[in-house]
Amino acid sequence: MKTIEQTTSEILNLAATYFHIPREQLSPEDDFFTKLGINSLQALELLTRLEQHFQIELPDYEFQGVSDFRTLAERVHSRL
């Protein structure tokens, strides 16, 4: 069983790779819209990558109003 810290770290790694941002520039408190420079549709692309990585299904509505990596990680972690 992963810890929430591991889940968070894996999400940050994935976001850094997918959106070509140096990993060290990302932290759990960051607003991913601002930090990654993405819109809500691109955020949905990130969700798909997370689904593939964690082998889970993430309904779009679970992420309505979520904009920071820490909350995102909590939502993902609760479904692992």
Binding site: D31, F33, N39, S40, L41, Q42, L44, E45, L47, T48, E57, P59, D60, Y61, E62, Q64, G65, S67, D68
Partner: protein
């Protein structure tokens, strides 16, 4: 098609469609690679009528208001039909608003019955204002078996038997109350009549006639005016099939095109640009020689379709691209916000014409639409049949405020005669948008006279509605404006909100205050956030009742501050 001109109400026209196209596929709901449901028009009726019966058992009667609060899914349409069957007034609410905002609009509209998706109901239960709710009944869809619904009923439960009574309505009766804004301030509930919608449907379908062969992919929520008309009323009256997608990821949209052989889809500019970006990336990844050939074919297609689209020819020339879209796509509709001409041209050159338009909630769905004859990406098309457009007080370049007169213009703003009188003057809807009409009758838009922005996602944002998120900010006073309203620009791209701050005497802009702004901003949905702030060194002008005189304040900001220097990005 069921002729909308021959029916007194949406309920009556839809009822006829359910009979006429009984064996045609009507509605498909897909979620990822699963298909949740597939209904013919007959099955649609058989599913919706028991819901209408439930509503009538709950005492829902002619003229009563029922709100729908759901994401993009089939139960939205089933519920809407049931409401119209009962002679009710539909209040379509935006599921992306916060629960507190939704409760405000439910109260303002005096909604009697709420039909809501479970996760949204769950959020509402803990929102402030929930205990003051006045709805008499709530129907919740897709609730887990053991969920506590706090007194609500399950949408799926259909007690009792018997045919519900069809309640006729007249053309001038209210069909919908649609909120264009006002969650933070003065609610703008546009009251639209059955005639408004039926006339809108008639004129849109005269330009783009649907038929039972059409498969329309619905990715916009149906509370959105475009999807309500082009993804519900229009296709139903024409016997077409609507495909709803619940997971709105680009890869699922791509799969839906090929799986269902989609013919039309409506999008907002943000989705269109995303599609363009994806296609450009794919083109760039091709080997050099294939890229060269593709470029040549696109150029040839552009040349051969210069006067008007020829989808059959384009499918032959650019076979692989069209196959990726399922091979049956005839075109896309885009609206809700300004679309860049280059994006429209990109798709047109691929043989995928995008009909862009211009509309306001106050005028139904659209007042202009590009009829692609010829394609004019620099404009928002010509006025739709039955729509008159006038440019008020044009300047030397012919640019002035766009005014609209049409049978599609709303009746009034709910409970606000003063606002209605400002918006509708001598029968003309004053749009607050700046435009020009050229010699061929095409309308071009240049900016706004009003203090608001429209995002690429098609969301209208009024600064007053965002100010509540900054209530109690430790400064003397503050106000939010559309940047292009403060520093007027003839541009409709990249519209932003700016916070104007007046600090207390001796107060400096500190890191703590800046952090507070960032934090408050973060609590807003991404499309409502301010992009930066300016500090003004004088008190805000106010009325005798101490309300900020916004136009005068905007004038002061414009006079004293240079946008390029004064705005600090957040």
């Amino acid at each position: 098609m069921v002729d909308p001109g021959q029916y007194p109400s949406l309920g009556a026209a839809l009822r006829e469609a359910l009979e006429r196209w009984a064996e045609q596929t009507c509605l498909i709901e897909a979620d990822r690679d699963r298909e949740n449901c597939r209904l013919t028009y007959r099955q649609f009726k058989e599913t919706a009528l028991p819901l209408a019966r439930t509503l009538q058992q709950l005492g829902f009667a002619e003229g009563d208001r029922a709100a729908i609060l759901m994401s993009n899914q089939s139960k939205w349409l089933l519920s809407a039909y049931a409401i119209f069957h009962c002679g009710g007034v539909l209040v379509p609410l935006d599921f992306k608003l916060s629960a507190q905002e939704q409760l405000q609009l439910l109260a303002h509209s005096r909604t009697k019955v709420l039909i809501v998706e479970y996760y949204l109901w769950r959020a509402m239960l803990s929102a402030s204002g929930f205990k003051d709710r006045k709805m008499q009944a709530v129907l919740v869809t897709e609730a887990p078996a053991n969920a506590d619904l706090a007194g609500a009923r399950r949408w799926e439960e259909r007690p009792g038997e018997g045919e519900p009574t069809f309640v006729p309505r007249r053309r001038n009766d209210w069909a919908c109350i649609v909120y264009s804004s006002g969650t933070g301030g003065r609610p703008k509930g546009c009251v639209l009549t059955h005639e408004n919608y039926l006339e809108q449907c008639k004129s849109l379908m005269s330009l783009f006639p649907f038929s039972p062969e059409v498969k329309y992919l619905s990715i916009l929520p149906t509370n959105h005016a475009i999807d309500f008309m082009v993804g519900f009323i229009g296709p139903f009256l024409c016997g077409a099939a609507v495909v709803h997608l619940r997971a709105l990821r680009p890869e699922f949209i791509r799969e839906a095109f090929t799986r269902y052989k989609i013919t039309y889809m409506s999008v907002v500019p943000m989705v269109l640009k995303n599609l363009e970006r994806g296609l450009r990336e794919r083109f760039a990844a091709l080997p050099a020689h294939r890229r060269f050939i593709l470029k040549g074919l696109i150029g040839l297609n552009r040349l051969l379709t210069k006067r008007k689209p020829n989808v059959k020819l384009s499918r032959r020339l650019l076979h692989n691209i069209h196959q990726a879209f399922g091979g049956e796509l005839r075109g896309l509709f885009v609206g809700g916000a300004f679309t860049e001409p280059a994006t429209l041209q990109f798709f047109y050159d691929l043989g995928i014409p995008v009909a862009n338009g211009y509309g306001l909630t106050e005028a139904g769905t659209a007042v202009t639409l590009n009829d692609l004859n010829p394609f004019r990406p620099d404009t928002v098309g010509k006025p739709l049949p039955g729509v008159e457009i006038r440019i008020v007080n044009p300047d030397a370049q012919g640019i002035g405020e766009v005014a609209v007169r049409s049978q599609t213009v709303m009746s009034h703003y709910l409970d606000d005669p003063e606002l209605t009188a400002e918006a509708i003057v001598d029968g003309w809807l004053m749009t607050g948008d700046l435009g020009r009409m050229d010699s061929t009758g095409h309308v071009q838009l240049f900016g706004r006279k009003k203090n608001m922005i429209v995002t690429e996602g098609g969301k209208n944002i009024y600064p007053e509605d965002v100010e509540t998120a900054f209530a109690g900010l430790p400064v003397k006073e503050f106000c939010i404006f559309a940047a292009n309203y403060l520093w007027q620009q003839r541009d409709l791209t990249g519209e932003k909100l700016v916070l104007v701050i007046r600090l207390d005497a001796g107060q400096q802009m500190s890191d703590d205050l800046r952090q507070e702004l960032v934090s408050r901003n973060r609590h807003l949905p991404d499309f409502k956030r301010i992009s930066g702030y300016v500090v003004l060194d004088q008190d805000f002008p106010r009325t005798a009742s101490l309300k900020v005189k916004r136009p005068m304040l905007a004038e002061e900001v414009r006079k004293r501050l240079d946008r390029a220097i004064a705005v600090v990005e957040l």
